[in-house]
């Protein structure tokens, strides 16, 4: 099965790689780029722990082929720092203790940040809707939702 050359900008850095068609974006990010902050769990689009941004849009990377993102821009949890500073969602997750085992945290922070970019002052319902595709297997949703809401208030200050 012939490989395809792809050129992808991930967290601001340009990568050129040859990929097999069957390689998922998730495998590409974790194994080829070594960005292991994006987690691999259900691999069937149910849990959303592999959520990354493709051209700014939240996407379950286990259901995308790497070859499809040729020419696109990927943002993962590793690309969210603002210089040396944590971004407001990352800070709010720490302040709210919105982390139990931590395995879902990157996905929620990536999706929460994308929501705030699109809608800087979401309601609680809008936050719940936006992260509805991500499972916290520890069920610590209350703190996660509060953290995203708080980050939105922070963004307004």
């Amino acid at each position: 099965m012939s490989k395809h050359k792809i050129s992808v900008r991930a967290n601001g850095q340009l990568y050129e790689r040859d990929v097999e068609p069957r390689r998922t974006l998730l495998q590409f990010i974790r194994e080829d780029l070594g960005l292991t902050g994006t987690k691999c769990a259900c691999e069937r689009g149910d849990c959303g722990l592999c959520t990354v941004l493709v051209d700014g849009v939240p996407t379950k990377s286990c259901l995308v082929l790497a070859v499809e993102v040729d020419g696109k821009e990927i943002t993962t949890i590793e690309g969210l720092m603002e210089g040396e500073e944590l971004n407001p969602v990352q800070r709010a997750f720490i302040e709210h203790g919105a982390v139990q085992c931590g395995f879902c945290t990157p996905a929620f922070i990536v999706a929460g940040g994308a929501l705030l970019k699109r809608n800087p002052s979401p309601t609680e319902e809008e936050v719940k809707e936006a992260v509805g595709g991500i499972l916290c297997r520890c069920t610590g949703y209350r703190q996660i939702i509060d953290a995203i809401l708080d980050a939105s208030k922070g963004a307004k200050k």
Binding site: P21, R22, Q27, G45, T59, K60, L63
Partner: protein, 286 residues
């Protein structure tokens, strides 16, 4: 578990796609969002030699509406694009609400309407909406193009009327009758995301004569339109009596199974209740 091996093809035009399918149709699977296909491939339920990505084809991207022709939704249009459309929200409420209930917002950034119907799951959320709106599926192959009424499109669990060399270019929805309203209600186990235990779409219009259509998902091998609903509204009686009569015709129009999500008796019960609820909502009975 890694995906099985395949070759990836990304045609740039409908002509190119037609010739790929003429040559490799039985060994190829089309991919738009991939949200069903890649799961089936991972489970080894589908083993295509070629995966043909249709997102590079400009002609399949559009969503358009006009007063004469109605609504046309191209094969690569995502569910979130459908949800963002004011025209769909105002005139095709069942489609808008079904798209809003399908999976979750992240999946909907990739998943498409045409993918949902071509996957032909009995639980396809958008199918009942297309049934009550009398949609037509535009299928294209080297032999030409044909319009398949949505009622004839679903042939069984995961089976459609499409030939191996055919693909869906677009779905067309005629403008609904004057004053028509439509909506979709979905019953599921969890608040966030789930497959429908039962899904019910309704369409109601009355400009002198009742037009009432109800279609359901997850209650038969294919999504089904229950034609007897129209009869319930043609005789006399109060609106409440008509709604009761309509709901009473539901068990005869469906054949649900018991599965891991719930049992057949429960599905039959819920199907009748959701039918009443969607009709009451559309008739303004609260």
């Amino acid at each position: 578990m890694p995906l099985p091996e395949f070759d990836y093809i990304r045609p740039k035009s409908v002509e190119e796609l037609v010739s790929i399918l003429a040559k490799h149709g039985s060994e190829a699977k089309l991919m738009a969002g991939g949200t069903d296909l890649l799961v089936l491939m991972r489970d080894r339920l589908v083993r295509p030699r070629y995966v043909v990505d249709i997102k590079g084809i400009g002609e399949l991207q559009g969503l358009s509406w006009d007063e004469g022709r109605g609504l046309t939704i191209g094969a690569a249009v995502t569910l979130n694009e459908i949800i963002a459309s004011e025209v769909i929200r105002e005139r095709f409420g069942a489609l808008w609400s079904a798209a809003s209930e399908l999976a979750d917002p992240t999946v909907r950034n990739r998943a498409t309407l045409v993918g949902n119907i071509c996957n032909a799951s009995p639980a396809a959320d958008t199918a009942p909406a297309l049934l009550v709106h009398n949609a037509e599926v535009e299928a294209v192959s080297a032999k030409g193009s044909r319009k398949i009424p949505i009622e004839d499109f679903f042939k069984g669990v995961k089976r459609t009327a499409l030939g191996p060399d055919e693909f869906v270019k677009a779905v067309h929805l005629p403008n609904p009758p004057d004053g028509a309203k439509s909506w979709y209600l979905k019953w599921k186990r969890t608040w966030g995301e789930d497959l429908a235990l039962v899904g019910v779409a309704g369409l109601v219009a009355n400009s002198g004569k009742w037009i009432v259509r109800v279609a359901l998902s997850s209650v038969a091998p294919t999504p089904v339109l229950v034609a007897e609903i129209q009869n319930a509204f043609e005789g006399g009686g109060t609106l409440e009596e008509k709604i009761e009569k309509a709901a009473a015709s539901i068990p005869g129009g469906i054949c649900p199974i018991t599965d891991v999500r719930c049992n057949a008796e429960y599905r039959t019960h819920v199907a009748a209740i959701l039918t009443k609820r969607v009709l009451r909502k559309l008739l303004g009975l609260g």
